[in-house]
């Protein structure tokens, strides 16, 4: 495949994966927690690198998933100990992120892992970072990781669709009919962590938040049905990735940054023009 096609594929895969996970985050009011996880994942990646001394994807995934879960756990712990929930999110992620940045600048200065990369991603280099797995031809590492995470997420969502749906909309009822709400919560947090780390290479830790939240938020303004929301959200993710890539090459700016901006523009359009929940249609219907 050509250079351009690889970037588009990887960007779209990241957009889809993030978009679908993001829907649940929005419905369960966990968006800020995802923001926190996407920051603290940096620490997981640094620790994985320092312990394993390699940039292999598996170590990164495991380290990120663990630190992601620790973040979710710490936030829970602090807020059950009398710290306001928003504040406990703020404390946890800034601390873990700060430790990650310090570790990077102390120990990992001379390797491929640097802070700018971690923040903004280097989707431009994705097509050259190839790995050979089993019988497959050499494929970009980011593509392989994103595909695995995408398939994993799809499997989890399909298997636990009912559970996710009920816990998202009515956690009390979910608990009453015997769904392990806490387990589902941590399952979702685990999905967020691995999604974040898989998208990390291409779009960076901070901009992954835009990919997680914006498509879902746009989709939420267009539909009331979860399945439609998931599909729409994935679609918006892909649209933002493709349009973001082309506008970035046109303007010669950061690709991941322009993908995030495009996500914002899509949201703005939906926010204004959504047929039922848009600002304009609301204004019109209230003036009649």
């Amino acid at each position: 495949m050509s250079y351009e096609l690889w970037i588009l594929t990887v960007g779209s895969l990241a957009g889809m994966t993030c978009g679908m996970v993001g829907c649940f985050l929005i419905l369960r009011k966990l968006a800020m927690l995802a923001d926190a996880i996407s920051h603290s994942v940096l620490l997981g990646i640094v620790l994985a690198f320092l312990i394993s001394q390699s940039m292999s994807g598996i170590y990164m995934l495991v380290g990120a998933a663990m630190v992601g879960l620790i973040t979710a756990f710490l936030v829970q712990l602090f807020s059950s100990n009398g710290v306001q929930e928003d504040a406990s999110i703020g404390v946890v992620f800034t601390f873990l992120f700060a430790v990650g940045v310090i570790l990077i600048s102390l120990y990992a200065n001379d390797v491929h892992l640097d802070v700018d990369h971690a923040l903004m991603g280097e989707i431009t280099f994705v097509p050259w970072d190839l790995v050979q797995w089993w019988f497959l031809p050499p494929l970009p590492k980011a593509f392989l990781m994103l595909s695995i995470v995408f398939i994993l997420n799809i499997i989890i969502i399909v298997l636990f669709y009912k559970e996710f749906k009920i816990t998202s909309f009515d956690p009390q009822m979910a608990a009453a009919i015997g769904i392990p709400v806490l387990l589902i919560h941590y399952l979702l947090m685990g999905m967020v962590s691995i999604t974040t780390v898989a998208s990390f290479d291409s779009v960076g830790a901070i901009l992954v938040v835009a990919m997680l939240v914006a498509p879902g938020a746009s989709a939420y303004l267009l539909t009331d049905k979860l399945s439609v929301m998931l599909v729409l959200s994935a679609l918006f993710g892909v649209m933002a990735a493709v349009a973001g890539y082309y506008s970035a090459t046109w303007l010669n700016v950061s690709i991941s940054g322009s993908m995030a901006s495009l996500n914002g523009i899509i949201f703005l359009l939906v926010f204004l023009f959504s047929p039922t929940k848009g600002l304009i249609s609301k204004k019109l219907s209230s003036s009649i």
Binding site: K29, M32, G90, I102, I206, A217, S254, S258
Partner: protein, 437 residues
């Protein structure tokens, strides 16, 4: 020794002194405003504002073409305010929840900032502009005038907040009442948001856009552990902010070239951990000790009650008042381990409630008073439960003392009558001749 020399060198360096003063004032200002933001549940808006400062900085740079701190900070303030208003507007007009909107605005503005940053670095002047330092903060790169600007603004912020303390306090805790009093709540809301944005903006050069939120949030929740009064909380939070600002600056200067922001954040978080553990009243250690004490007390009371009841049974069966209870009987009745039972029995012995003869125990006179009181309290509680329409369960303690001290009171008489009816009156009374038994 060399470390000490280095420290001396750092402390006597004129620029470092300015930077220290600047980060200290910054810490105070953001700690103070952060506490109010925390109580208004707006902590994370500060996070969004900080991220949103990045595009403003870049736009200002692209417009002016050189690195003038004042212009950059004005740009940052404008986009910061725009972000804060976007959050409030979208939350108010759509079904999306505030946290989703904060996250959305934060990441989109930051993404746009990154786009602009790449644009800036392509311009000839921008290549070495050091705008990227704003992401993580580089206090050491601050030069005299920057620090004076930062320190001056921080000082003004502190001053304005202390002048408007009463109004802001009212706005925070009871906005409806504030409106009723005729305070311009809309204007105050705008003013507070502006102060918050200003605190964030002057902080980003030292702490960086990503971690600036921590300087608002962490000192204030640390302070929250120590006090319930807003005034004290603000002062403490300012103090914590100042300490972490200075400690972080010193640590990063030690490491030469390390970003300042992360160290400030780590210092602040350590203060938070210390507060969470050791604060009086709300600290975890105190709570934990209190719980252990309470558990111990409950167990002591259980054992005293059990011994009393065993003595009562024995008295009712045989008419003897001098019965003895074995350790095993107590342990098996309460399902305690033998070791635990013995420890607590030993404690009670030391307190003078028990007499021991080998493996068997009885109550001293003092213990009898205590055991009688505990058993009476329990049984009065049961009566309250059985006769909910007559007695309030929560008044159990008062009712018990009435029954013991003023048995002629009509309510006490009624309870004693009921106790008799149910055969529940404690049989061995230390108050002989006082109306009971």
């Amino acid at each position: 020794m060399s470390d000490l020399n280095l420290l001396q060198m750092i402390l006597y360096d004129a620029n470092t002194q300015w930077v220290l003063l600047g980060t200290m004032l910054l810490g105070i200002a953001s700690g103070v405003l952060g506490s109010i933001a925390l109580l208004r549940k707006q902590s994370l808006i500060g996070d969004a504002v900080a991220h949103a400062a990045l595009p403003g900085i870049c736009i200002a740079f692209l417009l002016i073409g050189e690195k003038s701190l004042v212009a950059l900070l004005i740009g940052a303030t404008i986009t910061g305010l725009v972000a804060a208003y976007c959050i409030q507007f979208i939350t108010a007009t759509s079904i999306l929840k505030e946290d989703t909107v904060i996250c959305l605005v934060l990441s989109v503005f930051f993404g746009f900032g990154i786009v602009l940053l790449t644009k800036v670095s392509q311009s000839p002047a921008g290549n070495k502009s050091g705008l990227a330092d704003f992401i993580f903060g580089q206090a050491a790169s601050l030069v005299g005038n920057d620090v004076k600007l930062m320190a001056g603004t921080a000082f003004i912020l502190i001053l304005v907040t202390s002048l408007l303390f009463k109004e802001l306090k009212l706005l925070t805790f009871d906005p409806a009442f504030a409106k009723g009093l005729g305070l311009p709540t809309k204007f105050l809301n705008f003013l507070f948001l502006t102060l918050l944005v200003a605190a964030v903006v002057i902080g980003i050069q030292a702490v960086g856009v990503i971690l600036m939120a921590a300087l608002l949030i962490t000192p204030s929740i640390a302070a929250r552990y120590w006090t319930n009064s807003l005034g004290k909380m603000i002062i403490l939070s300012g103090l914590f902010g100042a300490i972490s600002g200075m400690a972080g600056t010193l640590l990063s200067t030690f490491g030469r070239g390390l970003a300042t922001g992360p160290f400030i954040v780590v210092s602040a978080t350590l203060l938070f951990f210390l507060s969470m553990l050791f604060a009086p009243e709300r600290g975890l250690v105190i709570k934990w000790m209190r719980r252990i004490k309470y558990n111990r007390k409950t167990k002591e009371e259980q054992i005293l009650r059990t011994i009393y009841k065993n003595l009562e049974d024995c008295y009712l069966k045989s008419g003897l008042e001098e019965c003895l209870v074995t350790t095993n009987a107590v342990a098996s009745e309460l399902a305690f381990s033998e070791k635990l039972t013995l420890t607590i029995l030993g404690d009670l012995l030391k307190k003078g409630y028990l007499t021991q003869s080998g493996n068997e125990w009885s109550l001293t006179n003092e213990g009898l008073f205590k055991g009688y009181l505990l058993v009476m309290k329990q049984r009065v509680g049961e009566i309250c439960l059985m006769h909910r329409e007559e007695f309030n369960e929560e008044e159990q303690d008062q009712l018990t003392s009435k029954v013991i001290d003023k048995p002629t009171d009509p309510i006490a008489e009624r309870i004693i009558y009921l106790l008799d009816q149910y055969n529940m009156k404690p049989a061995i009374s230390p108050y002989e001749g006082k109306g009971l038994t």
